[in-house]
Structure formats: C-alpha cells, structure tokens
C-alpha cells in the first residue's frame, strides 16, 4: 500500500500550503498523466502476444466486465 504515502503526504502539503498555492494543479496533473500513460503503454507493448485468441478473449472479458459493472451501477445504484 505504498500508494498511501504520496497521497497522504500530498494532502498534508496541500492543506498546509492551501493559502499559498494559487495556481491550478491541472497542468502538472496533465503532464504527469501523459507520462504515466506512455510508460504504461511501454509495459503493455512488451507483453508478447502470440495467439490472437488470447487477445480476443481478453478483449471480451474486459468489455463484459466493464459493461456488467456499468449496467449494475446504472440500474441498481440510486443517488
């Protein structure tokens, strides 16, 4: 759960400097996001895909789990 360290640290820093930080975090977030996605793409590109069947199966599973989640959320969750 290393992810908690930068998050809690960031919240702490943000809270302490809330009156001094006047600029939007939008731009630094966009830059970091694009770099993260680039590196994720690199990781994905390194996976050897020999069988198209594996790819199709993965795509079907991914699509169905996303659609299933969306369907239940839309039908079952009321705000």
């Amino acid at each position: 759960m290393n992810i908690f360290i930068p998050l809690i640290l960031g919240i702490f820093v943000g809270y302490l400097l809330r009156d001094r930080i006047k600029f939007s975090m939008d731009r630094p977030m966009s830059v970091a996001l694009l770099l993260l996605i680039f590196f994720m793409g690199v990781e994905a590109g390194r996976v050897e895909i020999d069988a198209p069947k594996l790819l199709i199966s993965s795509l079907v599973f991914a699509s169905f789990t996303i659609l299933g989640s969306l369907l239940i959320a839309l039908l079952g969750v009321r705000e």
Partner: protein, 195 residues
C-alpha cells in the same frame, strides 16, 4: 477533447516503444504514478469543504464498489459462456477488477494460459477505461461511470477520472478503487478454491 487525443497518442507511442525498442525506463512508471498521486493529494488537501464532500459521498461510497463486484462477476460469467471457458476461470479473471499485476500471477499459479488471459483482460480493462471513460461520461453520470475502472480508480485511472470528471469525484473514485483493491486478493483465490 485535445487531452483525450494526447492520452491515446501517448498510450500508442508507449506501446510502439515497448514493442519495437529495448529502451529501459527502470521504475519511472512507478515514480510517475507516485508523483501523480502526490499531485492529486495536494489538490485534495488545498480544496476546502473536504468534510462536506466525505459526508456527501454517503452510501455511494459502498454502493458503487458493490455494483462493480456484482457487475464484473456477471460480465465475466457471460464472457466465459460466450468463449466456452470454464466458469470458475471466467469469474476469477473478472474478480481482478482491472488489477492485472495481481490477477495474472495469481491465476498463473493454477494455469499459465489463464494467467496470461487474466493479465491481458485486466490490462485491457484499464486501457479501455482510459479510452472510453471520457466518452462515457457524456452520456451517463460521471460518478457511476467510475465503475468502469474497477480497482484502478485508486491509482492509475484516478488522474484521468479527475481530469475529465472533475476534482469532486476524486474521493469517490479513490474509495471505490480502495475497496476493490482490498477485495480482489481474497476473492480471486476464493473463487479458484471453491468452484
């Protein structure tokens, strides 16, 4: 919309680099993830009315992860029927909720082939979320569309959701991902052992 194009371009460029070069980036991926989470933390910390936001989340914080669990398992079951895969593998693959680095190795303990499918299916879920979340929220509520990302909404897809859905969904997305991240390591082995 231009950011979406940049996101997709960045992903495709990364995949090309990964496939056709042997460039090593070390642990830059993790470092970038931590940097992003840190920036998001600053954004949360400096925003006012955090307490009101947490109160506002209310039951949604529990209902959305429940919808993701039920929906993912139903989706996995239907996919396994369509692909003629034994249901227990379909359920185990879908119980990863996008956490490919966990699902792949866990399933590979039992079957290398399903380990690869588990890895790719959950990686694909993350990629599809990156591509389709910005489009989905044009038609469905941005809070409910969080379920697309599964467990990844607490880390890798969180910045994207904040970027396109707005800072107000940060906590909801994080809590959603956090709950699923806590469930997945227990649910996958449970499914494999019980079924």
């Amino acid at each position: 919309m231009s950011v979406l194009y940049l996101v997709i371009s960045s992903l495709l460029l990364g995949m090309l680099v990964g496939k056709y070069t042997s460039l090593e980036f070390g642990n830059l991926y993790e470092l970038m993830l931590y940097l992003l989470i840190f920036i998001i933390g600053i954004d949360i910390g400096k925003s006012r009315g955090l307490r009101e936001e947490l109160k506002r989340l209310g039951k949604m914080a529990l209902l959305l992860p429940s919808a993701t669990v039920v929906g993912s398992l139903i989706g996995g079951l239907l996919a396994s029927i369509l692909l003629k895969v034994p249901p227990k593998w379909g359920l185990a693959i879908s119980a990863g909720f996008g956490w490919y680095s966990l699902t792949g190795p866990l399933l590979a303990n039992y079957s290398p082939v399903y380990g690869i499918i588990g890895f790719l299916a959950n990686l694909t879920r993350e990629i599809l979320t990156i591509i389709f979340y910005p489009l989905a929220i044009k038609r469905i509520p941005k809070e409910k569309a969080i379920v697309m990302g599964g467990a990844t909404t607490m880390d890798t897809t969180l910045p994207l959701m904040v970027k396109f859905g707005g800072t107000e969904i940060t906590l909801l997305a994080f809590v959603h991902g956090f709950i699923l991240t806590a469930i997945a390591p227990f649910l996958i082995p449970l499914i494999l052992q019980l079924l």
